[in-house]
Amino acid sequence: MASTKVVVDPITRIEGHLRIEVQADQGKISGSWATATMFRGIETIMTGRDPRDAWAYVQRICGVCTTVHAIASVRAVEDALDIKIPANANTIRNLVHGMQYIQDHVIHFYHLHALDWVDVVSALSADPAKAAALAKSISPWPNNGEAEFRAVQDRLKKFVGTGQLGIFSNGYWGHPAYKLPPEANLMAVAHYLEALDWQRDVIRLHTVFGGKNPHPNFLVGGMASAINLDETATINAVRLADVQGMIKKAKDFVEQVYWPDLVAIAGFYKEWGAIGGGVPNFLACGEFPETDIRDLGSLYFPRGIIMGKDLSKVVEYDQQKVEEYITSSWYTYEGGDDKGLHPYAGETTPKYTGPKAPYEYLQGEKKYTWMKAPRYEGKPMQVGPLARMLVGYAHGHKDIKELVGQALGTLKVGPEALFSTLGRTAARGIETVLIANKMQTWFNELITRVKAGDTATFTKDKWEPSSWPKKAQGYGFLDAPRGALGHWVQIEDEKIARYQCVVPSTWNCSPRDAKGQMGAYEAALVDNHPLARPDQPLEILRTIHSFDPCLACGVHVLDADGGLLAEVKVQ
């Protein structure tokens, strides 16, 4: 009956610092605790600064999800100051954010998640000819030939032969949970390497419009990259042709490599369609407006909530119903640590009560993480690709319904398989295919407007702080690759009085709340979840990686006093 205590710290192949502790009984997980082990306090730093600068600071919340906090920030300030950006600027932001989705999801699949399913060592014994035959049966990708696979295998053989295994050192190779035949492993390893180069090439779209990646530039009121077809230093035909090339390259790889690989690999792991479901509620705030973010009806990914896995209805999302708990977090609330507070009334006073380092276990501690616990009407939520696809599916969104249906048909599983570790990973692929297609539509819209003489990228009238009201507040939302994101800004006397973020990984990585309800990671790990070898926690990595954790994003802090700190001035 004695259960085994298991600690996985660090969880690698994620953004940030995450610790997972579980209790395992006879091959199953019976208890779990998710701990964010880093805190920085970015929001505190925002107070007193120029709201037009905010995007640059909060963008540094995360360099993997680079762009998403910056866009949420400029949207929040534009909402507060009632600035409507030109249609071109909106389209450019869609293109930038769209490429972020595509590149981020592909990197996640190959470089962060794949090694949970793909045994690199097994690829050594593959028959390259058979691997090529397998690859050609699922995709017309031109690099899937026998010669290419043989070259990758030879490269890998000699690499392994050096004894210097680098990033592959101490992997769980040969673990019984690896199910792919050697040929599928070889194909995946070849694409792992190919994706390393591809990601670097397609993300240059950010550089064209924002000057660099990671952390391209944004602008309150539009975008800084002026369009002038008759100038060398602006967005012109040379740069637009480059962008068109990247859009094509992104789409080809997603359709001919990522998606077929994902479906092929999923076919060997169908049992994971019944593992790791966890929290049954899903929240999507919606994303990709046609011309203006205020036009909620135009969002390509719709907004809404699914409660209790009920796909027959979409509940309307109201940000007023969000509350954050710190019952299990290293903070304290003035009114008591069992209360939930809406972000507008939020407090954050960090108060570490855990053991001194070095420590062995956190399970058993009342408070065990830097992550807060957001709840919607008191209920935990999952956010991310699966939430978006489920909300879209329930909405009857044509593109989503079609592709989800197709994927379920190919894998010969029912919709219930979506509520799982495999479902989260598949949903990420589905939405990548959709965005990879949508990019061309957005690009065409930009070209059409420029052709018609509309080259505006910036709205000038509210740029000068003297034109602002004495007090203003705004809400900027964005459904980021990892899920629903919100920024709230309050402006007083031309400065930020208060700045707050509620971030996707805060929802998913949240700890237990006052009622003892677990967050999404924790709930997933105790939902029919295997763990064959406690010293080789491969299955834990599968489920945690299926959320694509981003810990630097998740841990944030409101200003400590909870009041408007307009008297704090920065020169």
Binding site: T12, G63, S169, E194, G211, P214, H215, A224
Partner: protein, 382 residues
């Protein structure tokens, strides 16, 4: 591009022997060496010596520690052009610990690090991204139940050299901006007895990171640095002096509002708050993401991210130099590290003012006499 016929490096053999054996990527290897020689400021003629140095050693161990950070510096390194990240990982170095990339997790990951550090004691390169929190006994950042400071001190002990990658590892960056809630500091504030090079920037350019590693492998020492510990080969010049828009500054042609006529002609962003005149950076020369573009090239003013404390000293970002925190009454020469940048910025402001005045006089001088606004005195002065 991914070199499909490139082969990995055999144990005990040098990179040169390995290349000979495979007989394929010699040419691309030499191209890579040329590229590196140029970035390192050695000129393409030095390519053979870079090649020779790289060919004569086994893949050195690199330990990469991630502390309080956003992982943007890891991402930036993934964008490196030459060598590609695939070649870097498989052919140039042995990256034995990297939380972002490594297959193993938990105990297995920590063991990989401990083994690699023990086996290569005194020889490995330690790459560090992120800052160290000094408040709350360091509990604001822990890994495997130990503070990140403990990890850093332990890993620094056996390192041959330390590459502090990015603004966080350099001086603390965004979490160290006022009021610095966690007491975040850079590597140099914790480790005092090892050579440290600061690859400045938020984030730095991936190719500069790679070039610094190659410099160390080629010459057996870290590159020469400025007083901020930044390699001179990358940070030796001011953006303003290398800027593709500099001619417009000199001509008094300024963007006065985003998307105005000047913006659409690619004019100088000085009036929009550009910090190029106070910033030492490889941006204008090396550029970003395979030389696709750079921030000023995309129409946005530089925010000065390679300079220490820029989140406080260079802000508000859209205020014209020197009307920003770092250059006003409370400018902090001690934290800026040198009066050099301050002096340069003030000088540029004076320069710009003079240029504009000159332009105004000249424009006025060119106005026709019947416009009625041009006095003889102004004309004489123009």
């Amino acid at each position: 591009m991914f070199v499909r016929n490139a082969e990995p490096w055999m144990d005990g053999s040098s990179l040169g022997e390995h290349l000979e054996e495979t007989g394929v990527s010699r040419r691309s290897f030499l191209e890579f060496c040329t590229e590196m020689a140029v970035i390192l400021g050695l000129g393409s003629a030095a390519a053979p010596s870079v090649a020779k140095a790289l060919e004569s050693q086994a893949r050195p161990t690199v330990i990469w520690l991630e502390m309080q950070e956003c992982t943007g510096c890891v991402e930036s390194t993934l964008r490196t052009e030459a060598p590609t990240i695939g070649n870097l990982l498989l052919d140039v170095v042995s990256l034995d610990y990297s939380e972002t990339l490594m297959a193993a997790a938990g105990h297995a990951a920590e063991k990989a690090k401990a083994d690699a550090m023990a086996k290569n004691k005194g020889k490995y390169v330690l790459v560090v991204t992120g800052s160290v929190p000094t408040k709350e006994d360091g509990m604001y950042c822990t890994v495997a139940g130990r503070t990140i400071r403990q990890h850093l001190e332990e890993a620094a002990e056996g390192a041959a050299a330390i590459i502090a990658l990015g603004a966080c590892a350099h001086w603390g960056s965004v979490q160290a901006a006022r009021p610095n809630p966690t007491g975040a500091v850079g590597v140099r504030d914790i480790i005092k007895n090892k050579p440290i090079v600061n690859i400045a920037g938020c984030p730095p350019i991936g190719d500069v990171v790679t070039a610094t590693v190659v410099h160390f492998l080629t010459f057996g020492r870290l590159p020469a640095v400025d007083r901020e510990g930044r390699p001179l080969f990358a940070y030796g010049n001011r953006i303003h002096d290398q800027c593709s828009r500099r001619a417009h500054f000199d001509a008094g042609q300024y963007v006065e509002s985003f998307d105005d006529e000047g913006a659409r002609k690619g004019w100088c962003l000085y009036e929009m708050g550009c910090k190029g005149p106070a910033t030492y950076s490889p941006c204008p020369i090396v550029q970003w993401n395979q030389r696709t573009n750079w921030p000023i090239g995309a129409g946005h003013p530089c925010i000065g991210c390679t300079e220490p404390y820029f989140w406080d000293t260079m802000a508000p970002f859209y205020n014209r130099l020197p009307n920003v925190s770092g250059f006003g009454v409370e400018h902090r020469i001690d934290t800026i590290g040198a009066s050099l940048a301050v002096g340069a910025a003030a000088g540029v402001a004076a320069h710009a003012t003079m240029t504009v005045m000159h332009q105004i006089r000249r424009r006025k001088a060119h106005q026709t006499p019947d416009s009625g606004s041009t006095s003889g005195e102004e004309r004489n002065n123009g």
